[in-house]
Subunit: 548 residues, 2 copies
């Protein structure tokens, strides 16, 4: 008798069943009480649903600094806070399918231990004492799996023995881990969809994607199922979902935050490095998180971290800001163009020196990064997906057809990249010749993608607005600006298109379908300028004064 090898669907079903059994039953909203699939915008649904107590609402609507202060002041316990977020995350998941692993029980035990410690000693264990933090499903957490949306990783290993360095640090500082969030296959697609957990949708408009690869994080945080979370970015994977959900986020320079012990979809790739950073609801939250991580001196625990302390930034009274409204390859759609204009007008009105940034080499930089991603011929991705025979999403086709190039070819690409990043730096410096104060620009502000969210399954495969800044390794922040509005963002007359991709995006833009989608932008600083990027985002955000 032969034992039939399980199909990938069977393996995935088993995994999902095990996960689903861990939800706490009384927190699940009965199916018939959930909004129908016709209801697209579910942003306010949870707090209006009546399924959360007023205290749960108060806790989950709070920013992390408030939560931490209330725990410290003994207004709230960590158990109360953790339970509130577990409860809300459960409902968020019912709305947008944003979770992968859940471990609420471990979290509540941990929270109780922290409460006990605080009660007994009068001391918090650290600056994150009692705070739940959500994690993208690439961070290894002791006792949990890390699947990366690959069926073969469902039970392989079933659990990791050790926390990733970042997780270890956050835990030591008092964080409570309670779940991990959905990602695309191998984290290499612009939508968070895979054969284990399925697709995560966007709470602003559920017919739109949450984006990828940190889509689960962004969808969950937007629904306040998490007060803050950590994503990762190697081509836009923090920024695209953060922008699609109108969140604040940081894509740091590599070496600022520890990456060791995160599972990679492309292990061993170093021509461009994945980084991780926070997604959240406020800039103060991001700043608090970043400062806490950097002040833990991660360079003593991750050999690739760099000893740069968290620095106090004094911004000049008026900023020099370059605006790149259009990268010259794909023209942004109307809501994004409107977002750029809102920001540009506000900056000019406030007296900042706004110049135009004409991108050079963005296309070549984005071609080079794609070549880096595919340079192993997709060997690793194919090996892991073929192991269970899972079917290949169209987004992953390039990995099927990739060539495992010889290292001599890689060296040529790397040498070319070295020249291009030097050229970019020189151009940045050269703006000193055209600013009013004779100093170079402080930042570039530009779109994150050409669109304010894409209908599920229909991301146009162009990450040329984000990926150049992975090659350049600049520090980048995301900030919300507005939401797509079918009346304000009508499809205007078609101009001449740059190319076939541009024409296609133009043709596909549908103000009705895009209605409510987020229009956030990115603010790009030099390398290792995370502090300054946050301060500059504060300036811009105060000027535009937007919140969802």
């Amino acid at each position: 008798m032969t034992i039939k090898k399980p199909t990938y669907a069977e393996i995935a079903a088993k995994k999902v069943k095990q996960r689903d059994a861990k939800f706490i039953k009384e927190w699940l909203v009965p199916d018939d009480k959930l909004p129908s699939s016709e209801v697209k915008d579910v942003l306010k649904w949870i707090q209006k649903s009546g399924f959360l107590s007023s205290k749960e609402i108060e806790i989950t609507q709070s920013n992390i600094t408030t939560i931490l202060a209330n725990i410290k002041a003994r207004e709230w316990t960590s158990v109360e806070v953790t339970a509130a977020f577990c409860h809300r995350a459960t409902i968020a998941h019912q709305l947008t399918n944003c979770l992968s692993e859940i471990f609420f029980e471990d979290a509540l035990i941990r929270a109780a231990e922290l409460d006990k410690h605080y009660e007994e000693t009068g001391q918090t264990v650290g600056p994150l004492h009692g705070l739940p933090i959500s994690l993208k499903d690439n961070f290894n957490v002791k006792g949990q799996a890390t699947t990366l949306g690959i069926v073969n990783f469902c039970f392989n290993p079933e659990k990791f023995d050790e926390d990733a360095v970042l997780v270890k640090i956050l835990r030591e500082k008092g964080a409570v881990f309670y779940l991990k969030t959905n990602v695309p296959v191998a984290m290499m697609m612009p939508e968070s969809n895979n054969h284990i957990w399925g697709n995560t949708t966007n709470p602003l408009n559920r017919s739109l994607s949450s984006g990828g690869s940190s889509g689960g994080e962004a969808s969950l945080i937007k629904l306040r199922g998490s007060p803050m979370g950590v994503g990762s970015d190697i081509g836009g994977s923090i920024r695209i979902p953060a922008s699609f959900q109108n969140l604040y986020a940081i894509k740091p320079t590599f070496g600022r935050f520890p990456t060791y012990g995160a599972r990679s979809g492309l292990p061993g790739l170093e021509s461009v490095n994945s980084v991780n950073g926070p997604l959240g609801n406020s800039l103060d939250d991001l700043e608090y998180y970043c400062r806490t991580v950097v002040e833990s001196e991660p360079w003593f625990h991750d050999a690739k971290c760099i000893e740069i302390p968290w620095r106090k930034v004094e911004l000049p009274g008026k900023l020099n800001i370059a605006i790149c409204a259009d990268d010259g390859f794909i023209r942004p759609t109307p809501p994004i163009r409107r977002a750029v204009k809102i920001v540009e007008d506000a900056l000019r009105e406030d007296g900042h020196d706004v110049i135009e940034w004409v991108p050079e080499d963005h296309l070549r930089l984005s071609q080079i990064i794609s070549a880096f991603f595919l340079s192993d011929g997709g060997v690793h991705v194919k090996q892991e997906t073929e192991a269970t025979g899972e079917s290949i999403f169209p987004y992953m086709k390039p990995y099927e057809n990739a060539v495992d190039i010889p290292v001599s070819e890689l060296w040529k690409l790397q040498a070319e990249r070295t020249h291009l990043i030097k050229k970019y730096l020189d151009r940045w410096n050269a703006t000193a010749a055209i600013t009013k104060n004779g100093k170079p620009i402080d930042a570039i502000i530009m779109p994150v993608t050409p669109f304010a969210g894409n209908p599920n399954g229909k991301f146009h495969d162009y990450v040329g607005y984000t990926s150049p800044f992975n090659v350049l390794d600049y520090s980048v922040g995301i900030f919300p600006v507005t939401r797509a509005d079918k009346d304000l963002d009508a499809k205007d007359e078609q101009s001449t298109n740059y190319n076939e991709s541009d024409r296609k995006i133009w043709d596909d833009y549908n103000p009705e379908a895009n209605h409510g989608g987020a229009a956030a932008l990115q603010l790009i600083g030099r390398k290792f300028q995370e502090e300054k990027v946050i301060e500059m985002m504060k300036v811009v955000s105060q000027l535009i004064n937007y919140s969802d």
Copy 2:
């Protein structure tokens, strides 16, 4: 009629002839006045020869801080200083064949301009005003060639249009460039020999090699033909020559000093990065140089430089030092063992906490770095050497037989390396458990090679004492300890050997042939700890109080 393609020897001869024509005739010592080849130790020959004036001797025996102070005090002009070093470098070259390109005339013109500027404005142009600095022949200097010891680069290009970023910075700070120094073919051999300029010997014992790849620098500086110079290191190329000449030197962590615009023997290689750093006669000189470069904020001009300022270091009263006397693969020869003992005894006597460092993974790290060097299948090296048909040195044979591996294989090596450097960091931290003050070690002190210089052409092909710290990317300093002495360093009874290489080095050790060779050691700090490494070397050097 066909024009016969010149042979590599003809191309090299033309290049050398052009270079030789640039020497200033009256500075050349007549052949019959030079020491015979039987004279091995030429360290003091120049100052005793009578060919330098007493002022030239005074200038060239001075450290850079004295030179700069005297120029500033108008005791010496930059022209006087530059001429003195050009003169002495000429004789140094006659003794050890240490130079490649020379451009004394340009230097004297530049020095005169600096003197004029100072006279007219009362201001120096910067902290290096008027100081000649020698450069290893991989730094591009505007108007000069960079041959890397490869015949095909003799006239290809004949001159570079632009300074390397480091050269540009040093020039802006006031440095005067007057020559470049010899290297091995592609800088990838442990001796500075090639088919253009030939072999550079060691002034402490000319039957010994100057080492490689910064051998020209080390030989020249030891003869005070340069007050300080810049070398580069990707496997030991600063440290081996500095140790063979008993100099002080710094191999920094990548990103501390700018590297853009240096010609590479392995362009595009990034799995391990070449770094550059100073070689000199005093720690104060090195510190002054490092501070000057870092305070120029090179991160604004080299996209790979990292914004870490030059920091003031407060050392603990007593250091925690780990000593690695033997890496367990090749046993150091008697002079090196004696050098380690001198340092260890001095540290213990002064009350520092000395523990033993048992190296783990050094062999694997050195295998991995070799695999990185060869990972392009030697394609670039072969292409450039085959272009003129130059014959291949035995040291370069691995490049002939290398395989251009697929990137998927490179990723595996890189992933393994990532784990090994984390493991090393954890081991370093774990020393806190065995030190008296419960803090981790401040440094490791260990040999640079197993020998105190090698007879020309007979380097045993093992760089396992240096190359692991390129993979680890730690900051390392070199400091002189003693010189090999045929009476003190007798060949002792052969113990059991670790392996065949170890046995061969043991068999070949000849106290007579090695007499006078330098026995310097390396002091290894964590990443980006160049300031602390210099301070620690000061402590050790004061204790052992050695100078040649």
